[in-house]
Amino acid sequence: MGIQEQYRNEAAELLSSGAVKLVIGYGGGSTPDRRRPVFVRSAEEVSRLVLDSYCVANLSAYLISEGLLSDGKNVAVFLKPDGIRSVNILSAEAQVNPDQVVILGFNIEGEQTTPLPGRKAADYAPLMESLRSSGLSPELQREADRLEQMSAVERFDYWKEQFAKCIKCYACRQVCPMCYCRRCIVDVNQPQWINTSSHTLGNFEWNIVRAFHLAGRCVACGGCDRACPVNIPLRLINHRMSKETLDIFGHFPGESADQKPVLATFRQDDPETFIL
Protein backbone atom coordinates (compact mmCIF):
# COMPACT_ATOMS: atom_id res chain seq x y z
CA MET A 1 0.00 0.00 0.00
CA GLY A 2 1.42 3.37 -0.99
CA ILE A 3 1.60 6.30 1.35
CA GLN A 4 -1.35 8.03 -0.31
CA GLU A 5 -3.60 5.01 0.21
CA GLN A 6 -2.37 4.55 3.75
CA TYR A 7 -3.13 8.16 4.67
CA ARG A 8 -6.49 8.17 2.91
CA ASN A 9 -7.46 5.18 5.04
CA GLU A 10 -6.20 6.84 8.16
CA ALA A 11 -8.05 10.05 7.32
CA ALA A 12 -11.24 8.07 6.74
CA GLU A 13 -10.83 6.39 10.09
CA LEU A 14 -10.16 9.63 11.93
CA LEU A 15 -13.26 11.18 10.41
CA SER A 16 -15.62 8.26 10.80
CA SER A 17 -14.57 7.65 14.40
CA GLY A 18 -15.12 11.32 15.15
CA ALA A 19 -11.53 11.69 16.32
CA VAL A 20 -11.24 14.74 14.08
CA LYS A 21 -13.83 17.02 12.52
CA LEU A 22 -11.70 17.97 9.54
CA VAL A 23 -8.71 16.77 7.57
CA ILE A 24 -6.63 19.43 5.87
CA GLY A 25 -4.67 17.88 3.05
CA TYR A 26 -3.68 18.17 -0.56
CA GLY A 27 -5.75 17.55 -3.64
CA GLY A 28 -5.17 17.60 -7.35
CA GLY A 29 -4.65 21.03 -8.89
CA SER A 30 -5.37 22.75 -12.16
CA THR A 31 -2.29 21.26 -13.84
CA PRO A 32 -0.66 17.84 -13.35
CA ASP A 33 2.11 19.22 -11.15
CA ARG A 34 -0.05 21.48 -9.00
CA ARG A 35 -1.52 20.51 -5.66
CA ARG A 36 -4.09 22.56 -3.83
CA PRO A 37 -5.21 22.53 -0.21
CA VAL A 38 -8.40 20.54 0.33
CA PHE A 39 -10.66 20.29 3.34
CA VAL A 40 -12.20 16.89 3.94
CA ARG A 41 -15.07 16.57 6.39
CA SER A 42 -16.31 13.03 5.82
CA ALA A 43 -14.84 9.60 5.21
CA GLU A 44 -16.62 9.44 1.84
CA GLU A 45 -14.53 12.32 0.54
CA VAL A 46 -11.06 11.00 1.33
CA SER A 47 -10.49 10.01 -2.29
CA ARG A 48 -9.94 13.72 -2.91
CA LEU A 49 -6.71 13.50 -0.93
CA VAL A 50 -3.48 13.28 -2.85
CA LEU A 51 -0.05 12.73 -1.37
CA ASP A 52 3.09 12.79 -3.45
CA SER A 53 6.25 14.78 -3.94
CA TYR A 54 4.35 17.81 -5.27
CA CYS A 55 2.72 18.35 -1.86
CA VAL A 56 5.14 21.01 -0.66
CA ALA A 57 2.88 23.67 0.85
CA ASN A 58 2.99 24.13 4.64
CA LEU A 59 -0.67 23.63 5.51
CA SER A 60 -0.25 24.59 9.16
CA ALA A 61 -1.26 28.13 8.18
CA TYR A 62 -4.87 26.96 7.98
CA LEU A 63 -4.80 25.96 11.66
CA ILE A 64 -4.91 29.63 12.61
CA SER A 65 -8.07 30.30 10.58
CA GLU A 66 -10.36 32.31 12.78
CA GLY A 67 -12.51 30.06 14.95
CA LEU A 68 -11.28 26.76 13.50
CA LEU A 69 -10.11 25.28 16.80
CA SER A 70 -12.29 27.28 19.16
CA ASP A 71 -14.89 24.50 19.52
CA GLY A 72 -12.24 22.27 21.14
CA LYS A 73 -12.56 19.64 18.40
CA ASN A 74 -9.56 18.10 16.73
CA VAL A 75 -8.28 18.70 13.24
CA ALA A 76 -5.92 16.49 11.25
CA VAL A 77 -3.43 18.07 8.94
CA PHE A 78 -0.85 16.77 6.49
CA LEU A 79 2.54 18.18 7.46
CA LYS A 80 6.13 17.86 6.44
CA PRO A 81 8.79 18.35 9.13
CA ASP A 82 8.75 22.11 8.55
CA GLY A 83 5.00 22.18 9.19
CA ILE A 84 5.46 20.21 12.39
CA ARG A 85 7.93 22.83 13.54
CA SER A 86 5.34 25.51 12.72
CA VAL A 87 2.81 23.74 14.93
CA ASN A 88 5.34 23.72 17.75
CA ILE A 89 5.91 27.44 17.40
CA LEU A 90 2.19 28.16 17.20
CA SER A 91 1.75 26.09 20.36
CA ALA A 92 4.60 27.86 22.12
CA GLU A 93 3.05 31.19 21.16
CA ALA A 94 -0.34 30.03 22.43
CA GLN A 95 -2.03 30.21 19.03
CA VAL A 96 -3.03 26.55 18.79
CA ASN A 97 -3.54 23.84 21.33
CA PRO A 98 -1.25 21.01 20.14
CA ASP A 99 -3.63 18.43 21.63
CA GLN A 100 -6.18 19.43 19.02
CA VAL A 101 -3.86 18.85 16.09
CA VAL A 102 -3.47 15.38 14.64
CA ILE A 103 -0.44 15.37 12.40
CA LEU A 104 -0.33 13.17 9.32
CA GLY A 105 3.40 13.55 8.92
CA PHE A 106 5.34 12.83 5.79
CA ASN A 107 8.67 13.56 4.27
CA ILE A 108 9.69 14.26 0.71
CA GLU A 109 13.09 13.26 -0.58
CA GLY A 110 13.42 13.71 -4.28
CA GLU A 111 10.49 11.86 -5.83
CA GLN A 112 10.00 9.79 -2.70
CA THR A 113 7.29 10.51 -0.18
CA THR A 114 7.57 8.59 3.06
CA PRO A 115 5.29 8.53 6.11
CA LEU A 116 6.57 9.84 9.41
CA PRO A 117 5.52 7.94 12.52
CA GLY A 118 3.75 9.82 15.32
CA ARG A 119 0.49 11.72 15.33
CA LYS A 120 0.94 14.49 17.88
CA ALA A 121 3.57 17.20 17.65
CA ALA A 122 5.29 15.87 20.76
CA ASP A 123 5.77 12.46 19.10
CA TYR A 124 8.19 14.07 16.70
CA ALA A 125 10.74 15.09 19.32
CA PRO A 126 13.44 12.74 17.97
CA LEU A 127 12.88 14.05 14.45
CA MET A 128 13.20 17.62 15.74
CA GLU A 129 16.42 16.67 17.50
CA SER A 130 17.90 15.37 14.27
CA LEU A 131 16.70 18.41 12.32
CA ARG A 132 18.39 20.64 14.83
CA SER A 133 21.65 18.80 14.60
CA SER A 134 21.66 19.07 10.83
CA GLY A 135 21.13 22.85 11.20
CA LEU A 136 20.03 25.28 8.54
CA SER A 137 19.64 24.28 4.93
CA PRO A 138 23.07 24.09 3.26
CA GLU A 139 21.36 24.83 -0.02
CA LEU A 140 19.99 28.12 1.29
CA GLN A 141 23.31 28.86 2.89
CA ARG A 142 25.05 28.55 -0.47
CA GLU A 143 22.64 31.08 -1.97
CA ALA A 144 23.04 33.31 1.06
CA ASP A 145 26.81 33.14 0.81
CA ARG A 146 26.61 34.73 -2.60
CA LEU A 147 24.94 37.74 -0.98
CA GLU A 148 27.33 37.71 1.95
CA GLN A 149 30.23 38.12 -0.42
CA MET A 150 28.81 41.34 -1.79
CA SER A 151 29.81 44.68 -0.34
CA ALA A 152 27.17 46.38 1.78
CA VAL A 153 26.41 48.75 -1.08
CA GLU A 154 26.03 45.95 -3.59
CA ARG A 155 23.84 44.00 -1.23
CA PHE A 156 21.67 47.03 -0.61
CA ASP A 157 21.28 47.53 -4.34
CA TYR A 158 20.40 43.89 -4.74
CA TRP A 159 17.57 44.11 -2.23
CA LYS A 160 16.49 47.46 -3.59
CA GLU A 161 15.98 45.86 -6.98
CA GLN A 162 14.16 42.93 -5.46
CA PHE A 163 11.90 45.00 -3.23
CA ALA A 164 11.18 47.41 -6.07
CA LYS A 165 9.20 44.53 -7.59
CA CYS A 166 6.96 44.12 -4.55
CA ILE A 167 3.30 44.99 -5.13
CA LYS A 168 2.19 44.60 -1.53
CA CYS A 169 -0.29 41.86 -2.29
CA TYR A 170 0.69 40.40 1.08
CA ALA A 171 0.67 36.85 -0.27
CA CYS A 172 3.83 36.27 1.83
CA ARG A 173 1.97 37.26 4.96
CA GLN A 174 -1.26 35.47 4.17
CA VAL A 175 0.39 32.15 3.38
CA CYS A 176 2.63 32.22 6.46
CA PRO A 177 1.62 30.27 9.57
CA MET A 178 3.55 32.77 11.68
CA CYS A 179 1.52 35.75 10.46
CA TYR A 180 -1.50 35.36 12.66
CA CYS A 181 -1.95 38.93 13.88
CA ARG A 182 -5.59 39.89 13.71
CA ARG A 183 -4.52 43.30 12.54
CA CYS A 184 -1.14 43.42 10.89
CA ILE A 185 1.05 46.40 11.72
CA VAL A 186 0.74 47.60 8.13
CA ASP A 187 -3.02 47.79 8.56
CA VAL A 188 -2.74 49.95 11.65
CA ASN A 189 -3.18 53.63 10.85
CA GLN A 190 -3.24 55.30 14.26
CA PRO A 191 -0.42 55.97 14.06
CA GLN A 192 0.51 54.99 10.52
CA TRP A 193 3.68 53.08 11.34
CA ILE A 194 4.34 51.94 7.81
CA ASN A 195 3.68 53.58 4.46
CA THR A 196 0.98 51.62 2.70
CA SER A 197 2.18 52.73 -0.73
CA SER A 198 4.02 50.20 -2.78
CA HIS A 199 6.97 52.34 -3.81
CA THR A 200 10.47 51.14 -3.13
CA LEU A 201 10.68 52.77 0.29
CA GLY A 202 7.27 51.46 1.36
CA ASN A 203 8.22 48.03 0.06
CA PHE A 204 11.45 48.12 2.05
CA GLU A 205 9.53 49.02 5.17
CA TRP A 206 7.10 46.15 4.69
CA ASN A 207 9.59 43.44 3.81
CA ILE A 208 12.05 44.36 6.52
CA VAL A 209 9.36 44.60 9.16
CA ARG A 210 8.13 41.16 8.18
CA ALA A 211 11.64 39.73 8.24
CA PHE A 212 12.13 41.13 11.75
CA HIS A 213 8.87 39.66 12.93
CA LEU A 214 9.93 36.27 11.59
CA ALA A 215 13.36 36.29 13.14
CA GLY A 216 13.68 33.13 15.21
CA ARG A 217 10.24 31.95 14.08
CA CYS A 218 10.72 31.01 10.44
CA VAL A 219 10.99 27.30 9.66
CA ALA A 220 12.11 27.87 6.06
CA CYS A 221 9.06 26.15 4.60
CA GLY A 222 9.47 28.47 1.60
CA GLY A 223 5.77 29.31 1.50
CA CYS A 224 6.29 33.06 1.15
CA ASP A 225 8.90 32.57 -1.51
CA ARG A 226 6.65 30.32 -3.58
CA ALA A 227 3.62 32.54 -3.04
CA CYS A 228 5.34 35.74 -4.12
CA PRO A 229 3.89 36.59 -7.54
CA VAL A 230 6.86 38.79 -8.40
CA ASN A 231 9.54 36.29 -7.42
CA ILE A 232 11.29 38.11 -4.59
CA PRO A 233 13.73 35.61 -2.97
CA LEU A 234 12.17 36.01 0.46
CA ARG A 235 13.75 32.72 1.57
CA LEU A 236 17.12 34.49 1.64
CA ILE A 237 16.14 37.31 3.92
CA ASN A 238 14.41 34.92 6.30
CA HIS A 239 17.33 32.53 6.19
CA ARG A 240 19.63 35.39 7.18
CA MET A 241 17.54 36.12 10.25
CA SER A 242 17.41 32.42 11.16
CA LYS A 243 21.17 32.18 10.93
CA GLU A 244 21.46 35.22 13.18
CA THR A 245 19.21 33.80 15.90
CA LEU A 246 20.91 30.41 15.65
CA ASP A 247 24.41 31.84 15.87
CA ILE A 248 23.68 34.30 18.66
CA PHE A 249 21.11 32.48 20.75
CA GLY A 250 21.46 28.87 19.62
CA HIS A 251 17.79 29.04 18.76
CA PHE A 252 16.37 26.52 16.27
CA PRO A 253 12.69 27.49 15.93
CA GLY A 254 10.00 24.90 16.43
CA GLU A 255 11.99 22.27 18.31
CA SER A 256 9.20 21.70 20.75
CA ALA A 257 5.99 23.19 22.01
CA ASP A 258 7.81 24.30 25.18
CA GLN A 259 10.48 26.25 23.42
CA LYS A 260 10.45 29.88 24.50
CA PRO A 261 10.15 32.45 21.67
CA VAL A 262 13.70 33.71 21.34
CA LEU A 263 13.01 37.41 20.96
CA ALA A 264 10.28 37.49 23.56
CA THR A 265 12.30 36.15 26.45
CA PHE A 266 15.28 37.47 28.34
CA ARG A 267 17.76 36.27 30.89
CA GLN A 268 19.02 38.14 33.89
CA ASP A 269 22.57 37.80 32.61
CA ASP A 270 21.82 39.07 29.09
CA PRO A 271 24.68 41.49 28.38
CA GLU A 272 22.51 44.25 26.84
CA THR A 273 25.46 45.52 24.87
CA PHE A 274 23.12 47.30 22.53
CA ILE A 275 22.26 49.77 25.27
CA LEU A 276 25.83 50.78 26.01
Binding site: S30, R35, I167, K168, D187, N195, A227, N231
Partner: protein
Protein backbone atom coordinates in the same frame (compact mmCIF):
# COMPACT_ATOMS: atom_id res chain seq x y z
CA UNK B 1 -0.82 41.71 -50.43
CA UNK B 2 -0.37 42.89 -46.90
CA UNK B 3 2.15 44.86 -44.94
CA UNK B 4 4.91 42.81 -43.38
CA UNK B 5 7.25 43.81 -40.60
CA UNK B 6 10.35 41.63 -40.56
CA UNK B 7 12.11 40.77 -37.32
CA UNK B 8 15.27 42.21 -38.82
CA UNK B 9 13.65 45.63 -39.25
CA UNK B 10 12.22 45.85 -35.74
CA UNK B 11 15.18 47.79 -34.40
CA UNK B 12 14.78 50.29 -37.25
CA UNK B 13 11.15 50.71 -36.27
CA UNK B 14 12.16 51.29 -32.67
CA UNK B 15 14.56 54.01 -33.78
CA UNK B 16 11.91 55.58 -35.98
CA UNK B 17 9.40 55.57 -33.15
CA UNK B 18 11.89 57.08 -30.79
CA UNK B 19 12.71 59.85 -33.26
CA UNK B 20 8.99 60.44 -33.60
CA UNK B 21 8.90 61.03 -29.84
CA UNK B 22 7.61 57.68 -28.63
CA UNK B 23 8.94 55.65 -25.74
CA UNK B 24 8.84 51.95 -26.56
CA UNK B 25 7.60 49.58 -23.89
CA UNK B 26 7.56 45.82 -24.36
CA UNK B 27 7.56 42.56 -22.42
CA UNK B 28 10.98 42.01 -20.92
CA UNK B 29 12.82 39.95 -18.35
CA UNK B 30 14.66 41.54 -15.49
CA UNK B 31 15.46 40.57 -11.92
CA UNK B 32 13.77 37.23 -12.35
CA UNK B 33 10.46 38.80 -13.33
CA UNK B 34 8.69 39.32 -16.64
CA UNK B 35 6.86 42.60 -17.09
CA UNK B 36 6.33 45.51 -19.46
CA UNK B 37 9.34 47.80 -19.39
CA UNK B 38 10.92 50.40 -21.59
CA UNK B 39 13.29 48.70 -24.01
CA UNK B 40 16.31 50.00 -25.90
CA UNK B 41 16.33 47.40 -28.65
CA UNK B 42 14.51 44.38 -29.96
CA UNK B 43 17.00 42.20 -28.13
CA UNK B 44 15.59 43.46 -24.83
CA UNK B 45 12.13 42.24 -25.70
CA UNK B 46 10.81 38.92 -24.43
CA UNK B 47 8.40 38.22 -27.26
CA UNK B 48 8.60 34.49 -26.74
CA UNK B 49 6.52 34.67 -23.58
CA UNK B 50 2.95 33.44 -23.58
CA UNK B 51 2.32 36.36 -21.27
CA UNK B 52 4.48 38.43 -18.92
CA UNK B 53 3.82 37.81 -15.24
CA UNK B 54 2.82 41.42 -14.73
CA UNK B 55 0.21 43.22 -16.78
CA UNK B 56 0.22 46.23 -19.03
CA UNK B 57 -2.10 47.83 -16.46
CA UNK B 58 1.05 48.83 -14.54
CA UNK B 59 1.63 51.58 -17.11
CA UNK B 60 -1.88 53.02 -17.03
CA UNK B 61 -2.87 52.49 -13.44
CA UNK B 62 0.37 52.07 -11.51
CA UNK B 63 0.48 50.37 -8.13
CA UNK B 64 1.15 53.70 -6.47
CA UNK B 65 0.53 56.99 -8.17
CA UNK B 66 0.95 60.56 -6.89
CA UNK B 67 -2.25 62.59 -7.23
CA UNK B 68 -1.59 65.85 -5.45
CA UNK B 69 1.36 67.46 -3.77
CA UNK B 70 0.40 69.55 -0.77
CA UNK B 71 2.14 72.04 1.40
CA UNK B 72 0.54 73.30 4.55
CA UNK B 73 1.36 76.93 5.34
CA UNK B 74 0.04 79.46 7.80
CA UNK B 75 -3.55 80.24 6.79
CA UNK B 76 -3.28 78.46 3.46
CA UNK B 77 -2.56 75.15 1.85
CA UNK B 78 -0.83 75.02 -1.51
CA UNK B 79 -1.71 72.11 -3.73
CA UNK B 80 -0.41 71.01 -7.06
CA UNK B 81 -2.03 68.32 -9.17
CA UNK B 82 0.51 65.72 -10.29
CA UNK B 83 -0.89 64.55 -13.61
CA UNK B 84 1.14 61.96 -15.52
CA UNK B 85 3.55 63.25 -18.17
CA UNK B 86 2.38 63.78 -21.74
CA UNK B 87 4.94 61.44 -23.27
CA UNK B 88 3.82 59.30 -26.19
CA UNK B 89 4.30 55.58 -25.80
CA UNK B 90 4.27 52.52 -28.04
CA UNK B 91 3.43 49.27 -26.32
CA UNK B 92 4.90 46.58 -28.51
CA UNK B 93 4.18 42.88 -28.14
CA UNK B 94 1.09 43.18 -25.99
CA UNK B 95 -1.16 40.11 -25.90
CA UNK B 96 -4.82 40.45 -26.89
CA UNK B 97 -6.00 39.76 -23.32
CA UNK B 98 -3.95 42.58 -21.83
CA UNK B 99 -5.02 44.96 -24.58
CA UNK B 100 -8.66 44.02 -24.01
CA UNK B 101 -8.21 44.73 -20.32
CA UNK B 102 -7.55 48.40 -21.07
CA UNK B 103 -10.65 48.63 -23.22
CA UNK B 104 -12.70 46.95 -20.49
CA UNK B 105 -11.57 49.49 -17.89
CA UNK B 106 -12.17 52.57 -20.05
CA UNK B 107 -15.88 52.96 -19.21
CA UNK B 108 -15.19 52.65 -15.48
CA UNK B 109 -12.57 55.38 -15.50
CA UNK B 110 -14.86 57.44 -17.68
CA UNK B 111 -18.03 56.86 -15.64
CA UNK B 112 -19.41 60.42 -15.34
CA UNK B 113 -16.14 61.74 -14.03
CA UNK B 114 -13.31 61.24 -16.51
CA UNK B 115 -10.18 60.10 -14.68
CA UNK B 116 -7.37 62.15 -16.22
CA UNK B 117 -4.70 59.95 -14.72
CA UNK B 118 -6.01 57.04 -16.76
CA UNK B 119 -7.11 58.80 -19.92
CA UNK B 120 -4.05 60.96 -20.38
CA UNK B 121 -2.02 57.80 -20.52
CA UNK B 122 -4.55 56.00 -22.67
CA UNK B 123 -4.65 58.80 -25.22
CA UNK B 124 -0.88 59.00 -25.49
CA UNK B 125 -0.37 55.26 -25.95
CA UNK B 126 -0.46 53.06 -29.02
CA UNK B 127 -1.07 49.39 -28.40
CA UNK B 128 0.68 47.06 -30.82
CA UNK B 129 -0.57 43.58 -30.11
CA UNK B 130 0.85 40.28 -31.29
CA UNK B 131 -1.72 37.56 -31.87
CA UNK B 132 -1.00 34.45 -29.84
CA UNK B 133 0.36 31.35 -31.50
CA UNK B 134 0.83 29.54 -28.22
CA UNK B 135 -1.06 29.34 -24.97
CA UNK B 136 -0.49 27.73 -21.61
CA UNK B 137 -2.89 25.65 -19.51
CA UNK B 138 -4.15 28.79 -17.73
CA UNK B 139 -5.13 30.84 -20.77
CA UNK B 140 -8.90 31.21 -21.01
CA UNK B 141 -9.63 34.09 -23.37
CA UNK B 142 -11.94 31.94 -25.48
CA UNK B 143 -14.04 31.23 -22.40
CA UNK B 144 -14.87 34.92 -22.03
CA UNK B 145 -15.74 35.42 -25.69
CA UNK B 146 -12.35 36.84 -26.63
CA UNK B 147 -9.56 35.00 -28.41
CA UNK B 148 -5.91 34.80 -29.46
CA UNK B 149 -6.34 37.47 -32.14
CA UNK B 150 -9.15 39.51 -30.67
CA UNK B 151 -8.69 43.18 -31.62
CA UNK B 152 -10.35 44.68 -28.51
CA UNK B 153 -8.15 47.43 -27.11
CA UNK B 154 -5.46 47.13 -29.79
CA UNK B 155 -4.42 49.83 -32.27
CA UNK B 156 -2.34 47.52 -34.43
CA UNK B 157 -2.52 43.73 -34.62
CA UNK B 158 0.52 41.75 -35.64
CA UNK B 159 -0.01 38.23 -36.95
CA UNK B 160 3.17 36.16 -36.71
CA UNK B 161 4.28 34.74 -40.05
CA UNK B 162 4.41 31.02 -40.44
CA UNK B 163 8.07 31.07 -41.40
CA UNK B 164 8.92 33.12 -38.31
CA UNK B 165 10.45 35.99 -40.31
CA UNK B 166 8.21 38.59 -38.81
CA UNK B 167 4.62 39.74 -38.62
CA UNK B 168 1.78 40.75 -40.82
CA UNK B 169 0.63 44.16 -39.68
CA UNK B 170 -3.02 45.17 -39.52
CA UNK B 171 -3.97 48.63 -38.36
CA UNK B 172 -7.17 48.83 -36.39
CA UNK B 173 -7.49 52.46 -35.31
CA UNK B 174 -6.44 55.95 -36.37
CA UNK B 175 -3.84 55.91 -33.63
CA UNK B 176 -2.48 52.71 -35.13
CA UNK B 177 -2.45 54.21 -38.62
CA UNK B 178 -0.54 57.23 -37.40
CA UNK B 179 2.07 55.00 -35.81
CA UNK B 180 2.36 52.91 -38.95
CA UNK B 181 3.01 56.05 -41.00
CA UNK B 182 6.24 56.55 -39.07
CA UNK B 183 7.65 53.19 -40.16
CA UNK B 184 6.37 52.75 -43.72
CA UNK B 185 9.91 52.51 -45.20
CA UNK B 186 10.71 49.63 -42.88
CA UNK B 187 7.73 47.57 -44.02
CA UNK B 188 7.32 45.57 -47.12
CA UNK B 189 4.33 44.60 -49.17
CA UNK B 190 4.26 40.87 -49.45
CA UNK B 191 2.03 37.88 -49.53
CA UNK B 192 3.00 35.67 -46.66
CA UNK B 193 1.24 33.00 -44.74
CA UNK B 194 0.54 33.69 -41.10
CA UNK B 195 1.13 31.12 -38.39
CA UNK B 196 -1.85 29.30 -37.00
CA UNK B 197 -3.33 30.79 -33.88
CA UNK B 198 -3.02 29.27 -30.44
CA UNK B 199 -5.63 26.73 -29.65
CA UNK B 200 -7.21 27.90 -26.41
CA UNK B 201 -9.87 25.46 -25.28
CA UNK B 202 -13.11 26.85 -23.88
CA UNK B 203 -13.13 26.00 -20.19
CA UNK B 204 -16.53 27.15 -19.01
CA UNK B 205 -19.83 28.37 -20.33
CA UNK B 206 -19.72 32.03 -19.39
CA UNK B 207 -23.33 32.68 -20.41
CA UNK B 208 -24.54 29.88 -18.18
CA UNK B 209 -22.36 31.07 -15.34
CA UNK B 210 -23.68 34.63 -15.72
CA UNK B 211 -27.26 33.39 -15.57
CA UNK B 212 -26.47 31.51 -12.36
CA UNK B 213 -24.77 34.57 -10.87
CA UNK B 214 -27.69 36.79 -11.78
CA UNK B 215 -30.08 34.67 -9.74
CA UNK B 216 -30.42 36.35 -6.31
CA UNK B 217 -31.07 32.93 -4.77
CA UNK B 218 -27.47 31.96 -5.43
CA UNK B 219 -25.98 34.96 -3.63
CA UNK B 220 -26.15 33.19 -0.30
CA UNK B 221 -25.40 29.76 -1.73
CA UNK B 222 -23.12 27.47 0.26
CA UNK B 223 -21.11 27.26 -2.95
CA UNK B 224 -19.22 30.44 -2.10
CA UNK B 225 -17.91 29.02 1.16
CA UNK B 226 -16.90 25.77 -0.49
CA UNK B 227 -15.11 27.31 -3.41
CA UNK B 228 -13.19 29.88 -1.39
CA UNK B 229 -12.31 27.76 1.61
CA UNK B 230 -8.64 27.65 0.77
CA UNK B 231 -8.39 31.34 -0.22
CA UNK B 232 -5.72 32.91 1.95
CA UNK B 233 -6.92 36.45 1.31
CA UNK B 234 -3.89 37.88 -0.43
CA UNK B 235 -4.17 40.35 -3.29
CA UNK B 236 -2.15 38.61 -5.97
CA UNK B 237 -5.11 37.72 -8.20
CA UNK B 238 -6.38 41.28 -8.12
CA UNK B 239 -3.04 43.01 -8.50
CA UNK B 240 -2.02 40.82 -11.44
CA UNK B 241 -5.41 41.15 -13.10
CA UNK B 242 -5.46 43.35 -16.20
CA UNK B 243 -8.92 44.67 -15.33
CA UNK B 244 -9.01 44.94 -11.52
CA UNK B 245 -9.05 48.65 -10.81
CA UNK B 246 -9.84 49.14 -7.12
CA UNK B 247 -7.72 51.60 -5.22
CA UNK B 248 -7.06 53.30 -1.93
CA UNK B 249 -6.13 56.95 -1.37
CA UNK B 250 -3.37 57.69 1.13
CA UNK B 251 -1.49 60.77 2.23
CA UNK B 252 2.22 60.43 2.80
CA UNK B 253 4.63 63.01 4.07
CA UNK B 254 5.66 64.95 7.12
CA UNK B 255 3.56 67.38 9.11
CA UNK B 256 3.73 70.20 6.60
CA UNK B 257 4.07 68.68 3.17
CA UNK B 258 3.53 65.47 1.33
CA UNK B 259 1.80 63.69 -1.48
CA UNK B 260 -1.69 62.26 -1.73
CA UNK B 261 -1.40 58.96 -3.57
CA UNK B 262 -3.68 56.50 -5.29
CA UNK B 263 -2.60 52.95 -4.39
CA UNK B 264 -3.87 49.60 -5.59
CA UNK B 265 -6.28 48.02 -3.18
CA UNK B 266 -7.95 44.66 -3.26
CA UNK B 267 -11.43 43.34 -2.52
CA UNK B 268 -9.63 40.28 -1.10
CA UNK B 269 -8.42 42.28 1.87
CA UNK B 270 -10.54 42.36 5.01
CA UNK B 271 -9.70 46.03 5.52
CA UNK B 272 -11.09 46.98 2.14
CA UNK B 273 -14.65 47.48 3.34
CA UNK B 274 -14.11 47.72 7.10
CA UNK B 275 -16.07 50.58 8.67
CA UNK B 276 -14.43 52.64 11.39
CA UNK B 277 -17.04 51.26 13.76
CA UNK B 278 -15.72 47.75 13.19
CA UNK B 279 -18.73 46.71 11.11
CA UNK B 280 -17.59 45.00 7.95
CA UNK B 281 -20.15 44.30 5.23
CA UNK B 282 -17.89 41.67 3.68
CA UNK B 283 -16.42 40.14 6.79
CA UNK B 284 -15.51 36.67 5.55
CA UNK B 285 -13.20 35.56 2.77
CA UNK B 286 -16.05 33.80 0.97
CA UNK B 287 -18.00 37.08 0.80
CA UNK B 288 -14.93 38.76 -0.59
CA UNK B 289 -14.35 36.10 -3.25
CA UNK B 290 -18.03 36.29 -4.16
CA UNK B 291 -17.67 40.05 -4.55
CA UNK B 292 -14.78 39.56 -6.96
CA UNK B 293 -16.67 37.10 -9.13
CA UNK B 294 -19.96 39.03 -8.98
CA UNK B 295 -18.20 42.27 -9.79
CA UNK B 296 -16.53 40.76 -12.83
CA UNK B 297 -19.39 38.73 -14.24
CA UNK B 298 -22.50 40.49 -13.05
CA UNK B 299 -22.18 44.04 -11.67
CA UNK B 300 -19.70 45.30 -14.23
CA UNK B 301 -21.70 44.01 -17.15
CA UNK B 302 -24.82 45.61 -15.70
CA UNK B 303 -23.11 48.99 -15.63
CA UNK B 304 -20.86 48.92 -18.67
CA UNK B 305 -22.16 46.10 -20.86
CA UNK B 306 -19.02 44.01 -20.66
CA UNK B 307 -17.54 41.44 -18.28
CA UNK B 308 -14.52 42.59 -16.32
CA UNK B 309 -12.32 39.66 -17.34
CA UNK B 310 -10.20 39.33 -20.44
CA UNK B 311 -9.24 35.70 -19.90
CA UNK B 312 -5.50 36.09 -19.27
CA UNK B 313 -5.65 33.45 -16.53
CA UNK B 314 -3.12 35.17 -14.28
CA UNK B 315 -5.43 34.80 -11.28
CA UNK B 316 -5.03 31.03 -11.44
CA UNK B 317 -1.49 31.01 -12.80
CA UNK B 318 -0.16 33.04 -9.88
CA UNK B 319 -2.46 31.92 -7.07
CA UNK B 320 -0.51 30.50 -4.11
CA UNK B 321 -3.34 28.02 -3.45
CA UNK B 322 -4.38 27.26 -7.02
CA UNK B 323 -7.71 29.10 -7.02
CA UNK B 324 -8.93 31.45 -9.71
CA UNK B 325 -11.74 32.54 -11.95
CA UNK B 326 -11.46 29.46 -14.16
CA UNK B 327 -12.17 26.97 -11.39
CA UNK B 328 -15.00 29.03 -9.93
CA UNK B 329 -16.74 29.51 -13.25
CA UNK B 330 -16.18 25.89 -14.19
CA UNK B 331 -17.79 24.77 -10.96
CA UNK B 332 -20.70 27.12 -11.51
CA UNK B 333 -21.11 25.89 -15.07
CA UNK B 334 -21.04 22.30 -13.87
CA UNK B 335 -23.58 22.76 -11.11
CA UNK B 336 -25.90 25.32 -12.73
CA UNK B 337 -29.07 23.89 -14.17
Amino acid sequence: MTRILLNSRLDDCLSAWRSAGYRVIAPSRSNNLTSFDEVASAADMALDLVLPERTIKDHFFPQTEPLVRYEIKKQQIDTEEMLPPDDKRVFFGVRPCDAAGLDIDDPLFGWDYKDQYWFKRRENSVIVTIACTKADPFCMCTSVNLGPDNPKGSDIMLHPLKDGRGWQMVTLTDRGKALLETVVPMLQEDAAETASLANVPVKFDVEKAMTWLADPANFESHFWKEISQRCIGCGSCTFLCPTCHCFDIQDEGDTYSGIRRKNWDSCSFAMFTMHTSGHNPRNTQSMRWRQRIMHKFNYYRGKFGVNSCSGCGRCTRQCPVDMGITETLQEITNTAK
